[in-house]
C-alpha cells in the first residue's frame, strides 16, 4: 500500500488581495515524482514554499506524514528535516566550503556523528560528480556544480521528499544537462520529488505524474504520456504550444 508523504487539502493562498492559489488538493505518495508546470507567475514557487512553511496560507491544510505544516510555528524545524528544498538561485552559503555547507544541518540540527557525516558527504559528492570539491568555496564552482552541491545538501538530511524549484533556470545551457542527470538518477533510485521545471523533455522523462497549474488552479493532471501527447484542456494545449520548438 502506498504511503502518503505530503497531503495538501483545499489550499488557499493570497498575497494581500491577490489570490495566487485557490483550492488546491494534491497528495504525494512515497517514491512518486510529480512535475509541476504552468505559465510564469501562476504560483508554482509559491506552492512549493507553502509545502515547507515558508509562506503562510489563508485556507486549507498541508500535512507531512499527517503532521500539519504551520507557518511560523516551532514544529516547523522538525518537519523541515523531512523536506529537502533546492531553489533556482544558488543558495549555498558563500562563507562555508562545500563540505561545511553540506554538513551544517546534519551536525547542528540532527546532531549526527561528525565522522559519519563526513563520510556521507564525500559519498554523495562523488555520486553527483563532485568528488574533490569538498573543500572548495561556492564561488569556485560553476553554476551547475553549485546546484549539484545544493542537491547534496538537501539529500544528506535524508528527507522524505525533495522540492526542486526550477533548479536549472539560472544555468547556462551546457550545464543544465549535468544537473538534470542527477535528478533523473535520484528519481530512478526511488526518491520522492516535487519538481517545478520549464524543461519539458526532462519533465516527460522524469515524471510519474504531471500537474498543470494555471490561474491558481490545477487545470490538468495526468501521466506524462497523457499530458504531453494528448492534453485534454485547451489551456494545456496552448501552454504546450509555446514549447514545441524545444523538442
Amino acid at each position: 500500500m502506498a504511503e502518503t508523504i505530503i497531503e495538501v487539502k483545499n489550499l488557499h493562498k493570497q498575497f494581500g488581495d491577490n489570490v495566487i492559489l485557490k483550492d488546491i488538493s494534491i497528495s504525494v505518495e512515497k517514491g512518486e515524482v510529480i512535475v509541476l508546470i504552468g505559465p510564469s507567475g501562476c504560483g508554482k514557487s509559491t506552492f512549493l514554499r507553502c509545502l515547507n512553511g515558508l509562506e503562510p496560507i489563508q485556507g486549507g491544510s498541508v500535512t507531512l506524514h499527517g503532521e500539519p505544516v504551520l507557518y511560523g510555528k516551532k514544529s516547523l524545524t522538525k518537519i523541515r528535516q523531512h523536506i529537502g528544498m533546492v531553489f533556482q538561485s544558488y543558495d549555498l552559503f558563500p562563507h562555508m566550503t562545500i563540505a561545511q555547507n553540506i554538513a551544517l544541518a546534519p551536525l547542528k540540527v540532527q546532531k549526527r556523528d561528525k565522522k559519519e557525516v563526513e563520510e556521507e558527504t564525500l559519498k554523495l559528492l562523488d555520486r553527483v560528480g563532485l568528488a574533490g570539491k569538498a573543500d572548495s568555496y561556492p564561488n569556485e564552482l560553476s553554476g551547475g556544480q553549485k546546484q549539484r552541491a545544493a542537491i547534496v545538501r538537501s539529500l544528506i538530511i535524508h528527507p522524505d521528499i525533495i522540492l526542486l524549484d526550477e533548479i536549472t533556470a539560472a544555468l547556462d545551457p551546457e550545464m543544465v544537462h549535468e544537473v538534470l542527470k542527477v535528478v533523473l538518477d535520484l528519481a530512478k533510485s526511488g526518491t520522492t520529488m516535487m519538481i517545478v521545471t520549464h524543461e519539458m523533455a526532462f519533465a516527460k522523462a522524469v515524471a510519474d505524474r504531471v500537474i498543470f497549474l494555471d490561474g491558481g488552479e490545477i487545470v490538468e493532471e495526468g501521466t506524462p504520456d497523457e499530458f504531453f501527447d494528448a492534453p485534454k484542456t485547451e489551456r494545456a494545449k496552448q501552454f504546450l504550444k509555446t514549447f514545441t520548438y524545444s523538442d
Binding site: 515558508l54 524545524t77 528544498m85 543558495d91 544541518a105 540540527v109 564561488n139 545538501r153 538537501s154 538530511i157
Partner: protein, 226 residues
Amino acid sequence: MEGLKIVFEGNNFLRLLSGLWVTIRIALISIGFSLILGSLLGAAMRMKSKAVRAVCRAYLEIVRIMPQLVWLFIVFFGIVRTLGINLSGETSAIIVFTIWGTAEMGDLIRGGFESVPVHQYESSTSLGLTKFQAYIYVIFPQAIRLLIPNIINLSTRMIKTTALVSLIGVTEVLKVGKQIIDANRFEAPNAALWVYGTIFVMYFAVCFPLSMLSTAIEKKQKKLSA
C-alpha cells in the same frame, strides 16, 4: 635640529606617548561601547514596529547633524553647568563618542544584516535550522564579514576625531604637543614642526595598520563573493 632634540628631551617623548595613550583609550572604550550599543540599535532598526524605527531614525539624524565638537561642548559644559554633575573631560568625551559611534555603528550593522540576501535565511531554515541558528551560522558571519572594513574605517575616524577633546581640557597627544612647544617657545622656535611631525607619525602608526587591514579584508571578500 634643536626642534627634533626637543621631542626627545627629558621625558617629552614619553609624555607624547602617554598623550597618545589617552587618545587611544578614549577611542577604544568608545568603540567598544559603540559596537555593543550599535548592534542593539541595528537590530532595533530592523524591528517591525514603525514607532521604534522612527525613534532610531530620529536619534541617528540628530546625532549626525551636529558636529562632534558641539556635542562635546553640550555634554561637558552644558551638562556640568546646568545639572552640576561633576564629569571629567575624559568621561564626557567617552560619552559623546559613544553616542556618535552608536549611531554610526547601528546604521552600519543594520545595513550589514540587510545586505545578506533573504534567500540565505530561507535556505537555512529550510534545512531545519532554527531562526537563532540561522543567524549564528549563516547571517551573522556574512554580515560581519561585509562590515569589518566599514567598522575599521569608522574606528579610524573615531581615533582621529578624538583630537577634539583637547578643547574640553583633556590632555591627549595634541595638547601635550602644544604644551611642549609652548615650554620651548624661545629655545627652539621651530619645535612646532618637529613635535607635530612626531604626532603625525604617531597617528599614522596607529591608523595605517588599521586601514591596511581593512583593505586586505575587503580584497578577500571580493574573492569570496565573486
